[in-house]
């Protein structure tokens, strides 16, 4: 199997895009692919502490992120510059490691497949 990098760059509650990306990442993991998830741009809002999806009749995105290790998706990264730009203090319990732009460049370069790279 190839190694997959899923980039989530859209805000979790503005559209279903981020949630559907996460579903695809979980399916790839079920297929025994090596899966890495990178949150960047508005996707970093997924790590905002104290989310309550039910306030807008949606699933709580952070709960779905918390399930990733159960799918053996354990390489979890977040763009440090995007966190700073949006002033998001990532919930540490979700286990996403802040990453520099240079390190993201290396991560993309070392991935066989990038899903969500342009959106």
């Amino acid at each position: 199997m190839k190694n997959y990098l899923f980039i989530i760059s859209r805000a979790p509650y503005a559209s279903s895009h981020a949630f559907e990306q996460l579903e695809a990442a979980m399916v790839a993991a079920v297929f025994d692919a090596s899966v890495t998830v990178l949150l960047r741009d508005e996707g970093v809002w997924a790590l905002q502490p104290r989310q309550e999806g039910s306030a807008t009749q949606q699933n709580t995105f952070a709960k779905a992120l918390a399930a990733l290790p159960a799918y053996e998706v354990e390489q979890l990264y977040v763009c440090r510059a995007s966190l700073n730009k949006h002033s998001v203090s990532a919930d540490p319990s979700l286990g996403f490691e802040p990453m520099s732009l240079a390190a993201q460049q290396r991560l993309i370069d070392s991935s066989d497949v990038v899903i969500g790279g342009q959106s």
């Binding site: 199997m1 895009h17 559907e20 579903e23 695809a24 399916v27 899903i115 790279g117 959106s119």
Partner: protein, 131 residues
Amino acid sequence: MKYALAVHGAPYSSNAAEHALSFIEALQACGHDIERVFFFHEGVYQGLNGQVTPQSLHDNALQARWAAVAAQGIELAVCIASGIKRGVVDSAEQERYDLPAATLHTDFTLVGLGQLIAAIDNADRYVEFPA
């Protein structure tokens, strides 16, 4: 080379399909193969039956262009998870959920997300067309 493609945009609201279709034509002109075209997110609406192309866009009737791709034996695969919640269903799902109509065009098939991963794994390159 073998390509897996994904289309994320809805017809006539994003240009994802126009870009994908032109890319498919270019790939074929260069002698490449296409493993599968996968429709994800709002891209599932590409498979919605009964689209009426405005006359001003007559040269760009997307469903006719997709039909030409399907006629070559290229699989047009609509994500079932993204599709059914948006009302894009085949007759099996229509029956399962007791819906008034099957809405998926017969040139398209409804498949699981695993078919996206399988296509990418079998292909040399993966290219996606965002909304």
